[in-house]
Symmetry: D3
Subunit: 250 residues, 6 copies
């Protein structure tokens, strides 16, 4: 099985973290390919940055998805996820949605531990768009501005552990989501220090993608996840134009 | 006061409808400029198309917004609206949010009348993201595939009136939103045939934009509507790069 | 355009504040008339006081509304607002609903800053009745009993600024509503001290009323905003009796 | 124990129905007194009528409540209920809230059967204000305009039974609320024809009031149900003035 | 009238508390019988313990309910309540649901005061399953592990009073539920120290059960509260087998 | 990896269906063991039956779980699921929750296709307890009473396909959950006839269980999913007594 991970931000260091964590958790027979957005920002904290990341992800997906069994949108907040679910003919999952549904299997209420205060509004809206706001115990975040996105988990490990323990003791979390690709792998590193299960977006997404490929559901030909109706367009890349052209026969 | 309307789809005929309706309703001293997306699709019904429209809108906004007092995202579902609210230093409103809040002033529950069945999932999610799902009585839509987007209100006027009356009698709507830029102006045309107030996205957006400019609220320098923190980026257009560069001093 | 503002409490000093703020923000061609409730209490903090204020407002509206293009219920919690929307043939808006919808255009989540702890339950219920509770970040209030309602913003300006900053930093508010007619104008005074947009009920209500008059929606002849069905009544004032008598022909 | 029932509408025939049903279900030692609003409308279907009914009820309650152990607001939609809970020093319950909580003990989801289509918006809002909208299966109503409010249950019994059966079979109701004082007693009359429990506002309110009197909870001296803070007022009836004057010592 | 109270935990000391409080509040003509679970745990804090308690309660109910006019599930979280409502032919109420609905009549928002931190998740879910989460102001609990369940209210009275006052001042509660059978009677003991009404599960359940018996609603023969359809079973106790055998004729 | 599936009902024919579907979808290295409840009913449609099934499942789990890497509660409505998540030291997943979260990855809104009208209330509550009611488009069910639970999918295949198509066209479902162990495998059989993805509880549960075992989250030692605190108990089976005895050291 071949999985394509697309990092919607431009940081190769983050892609490397994602790729490494993905390979660690994937089944032996799963091949992992990780691509980095060709345009965009260093890391995504806001809706504007997510919008840019979504488009950059779509470009890469349109170009490469046909060679893979599933696609993973590998950034915080799942930029462009629903758009790609419509357009691609293979399963597409996001880091956030995968972490959310996995957390739901491990506890009734989850908290999210994230890298910056600015990111919390965007993540709260993502949980809400997933319909899971009632299971969100809290979002707790580092409070400085991010300096070195590639080293954030090394430099802030102790603070992140503190946030985890606060979420359990004060917010009633049964399970914690360590959110954001820059924190990929941290859940594994600090697991034994924390008295509840930790969930990591990358590893959850790999497992959910593998499961979907294995379950092999039919591609939607009706409903809101079917391909967009064919219609005139212009100015799009060759790959996206081709993606939108191939209408499903009904 | 100068208002910039950006049509996120590529249909000049739709832009003309929008422009005409906007000018009809604007205050005398308001100057209206309507731009059409330089890339994208003929009309937006899906999340993928909205993602493309959002990016095309952002490109135009980044290039032109500094010359205007407010910007209006002039398409169904408000593609990219929250992203632009973050990035621009002037008020930005969307057709949908403007219609929703105006409808809320005219009745307790509203229905939405729209051009295609496919569009309803996307619109439902927009209402949900606006936090107003409890006031949504129903979404009723034409059920054929759209053929001629520029002529849709002429060709389907009678069916649209029927949908309106069903929403009142069967769904408990106090007010109706005639949704989608291709229906701009229809609310005015059929108003006397319908026994409840009708709301039109374009006219509502003009009025809300004029009001915001007049109220002159401070630009956000904190909270989730402040500009995204400055960080490395690449591959973006000159205009977007410049937009993201100008960080707010705190 | 002629707008009638009705202050549902009996404080002429509050009416003066409202009137002054209304005139400052209204379009040049808009004529403002502000009336004060002929019976009731000095300021409204509770459901009982709101019930009294609603009735006093209805009496004035029944007597005067026919000479105006729109009516504004100019007190906290919008006492009697939905009742008047049913009964009057012109648009009616409330301070609270106008502030809420305007805040929604300026940010995803809003906090409310109010004059007394007692008032917060009543305001929370108003937000809930508007269907916008999911966008409410918090309500923060002064904690002493109100002494001098006409001077409250002068005497408590510093505390109110502190509450504003707490709502931003601790509650995640993108925008703040300075609530209650006794605080009319404060948003303008302290705007530059606060790093997010501030919203004021009076100014928002003027702008929303002007917009509705300009949009000229049909009066509801069906749905729950149509006039109450004619039926026997007794003991009502002449004005209210007349208001209820004129049934709409269907 | 002495219970005061106040009919917020002016129809003596409805008061007679209420009084008779109340006496039938009350404990032997409970004395029932039923008063009729001195001003208002023949029956309440709308928010405006409810506002009038609330004020008329408050006048009677202010004058008489001190001689009773509890007060019952005996009309559809519980006009003025929360206001009276604040102001009076004895328990106050409404027909609707009593029916709702009793229905909750008899089934997971309830439907409401009511006398007119117009009334349904107002009743839906009442359920929502009680926080119980998720347990509402449906509201089904007669669809003609009410002609003879005192004879409505005789003239429409068969239609009402049909509505009941539809709510069970099509809407998933476990229990039905026969809503509105004009239908008082109908639940008893048709009970054996309907395969789920029926709930009647008057009888539920009597039982809930008797229970509260028997449980003898402390009167609120804090929180939002405490008496409104004393403040200047004018133009109120002697009884209401007196009611608002007696501040609780804290 | 004969009421059967079943304590789902095995603590005779708790049954004695329940029985005493029940007899204190019951009408003179009401006979109270209190049974203790024949198997299970000393007190119920978790979902697993509630599951055990539910089954033990069902065994006793199946054996004894036919001799009573109503059954009360007399433990925290109402273990097995909906199951028994389906299976028994008499009204069944729970301590929690009775306290919740009674609290709703006394205030708009309630807090719950409980015996252990561990219990709060289970109670929160119970409120949610009752559809009343929007009226929950907070859950505040003792924070040590329970040592002596029979003496908990004596040993922790002062802390419990502090929790009550915090819920009023900080969480906005209008009314407090003193939760859990081990605290039966405490509401009465501390009532005068607390400035809002207190609600106790046992006394509320007695009153609600008496009311339902008096109202005498029909037993459900349709909907989700009707008896489970007859079908093959095995390995059940004689009493449960008999309970499931007697199908309702439709 | 060894997975234990426990069928909470007593039907060996249903266990055989479950076992067969589980083995078909499991990874090669996964060993499947399927046990059937030793007491209970033929199939579970109601809360009472679910309560019995929960207890029967707990008995088997307590006896056998220590020899497995994860446990699957293999019936409709996930009887006893949260209880077992607390008590067992290995991951536990339910058919329903697994189907729900998998459906969420394949579409925004799902419908549930089920075997009997009676079952729908119980399933609706399960969705609600999972916090996913906003993503539920509808529940559609066969409307006769179940005759032959082992043969239901053969005998009703055409009707079930019709229900699927109605859910897509009329209710807006993007994905369908074929609910209930007796329908295990049907999703696979009819997949090509239905234009949206179908989700099956058994196969989803196997994949989710395999993923959790592979992710190897820490067992909860805090929060509401930790083992119940040790306390006196009596009358429990040897296996459950042992399960509750082993307290986690903190």
């Amino acid at each position: 099985m071949k999985l394509l991970l697309i990092n919607p931000n431009i940081s190769e260091s983050v892609s490397a973290l994602i790729d490494s964590e993905a390979k660690r958790v994937a089944n032996k027979s799963t091949e992992i390919t990780t691509l980095t957005a060709e345009f965009g920002v260093a890391y995504i904290e806001t809706r504007f940055e997510a919008m840019v990341g979504a488009y950059a992800t779509a470009e890469l997906a349109a170009r490469h998805a046909s060679k893979f069994d599933a696609v993973i949108v590998a950034a915080f907040g799942d930029p462009g996820l629903l758009a790609l679910k419509e357009a691609l003919q293979v399963p597409v999952v996001g880091l956030t949605e995968s972490a959310l549904v996995t957390a739901c299997l491990l506890g009734q209420r989850f908290s999210i531990i994230a890298i910056s205060q600015r990111i919390s509004a965007w993540y709260r809206e993502t949980v809400q768009a997933n319909g899971l706001i009632d299971r969100l115990a809290s979002i707790r975040t580092l409070d400085q501005r991010v300096q070195n996105i590639g080293a954030i988990q090394q430099e802030h490990a102790a603070e992140l552990v503190t946030l985890c323990n606060q979420a359990i003791a004060q917010d009633g979390a049964d399970v914690l989501i360590i959110a954001g690709a820059p924190l990929a792998g941290l859940a594994r590193t600090i697991a034994t220090e924390i008295p509840v299960p930790l969930v990591d977006g990358v590893s959850c997404a790999i497992k959910q993608a593998e499961s979907l490929v294995s379950l092999a559901p039919q591609t939607a030909r009706a409903g809101s996840m079917a391909k967009p109706p064919v219609k005139p367009n212009k100015g799009l890349s060759e790959a996206i134009t081709k993606l939108l052209a191939a209408d499903v026969i009904r």
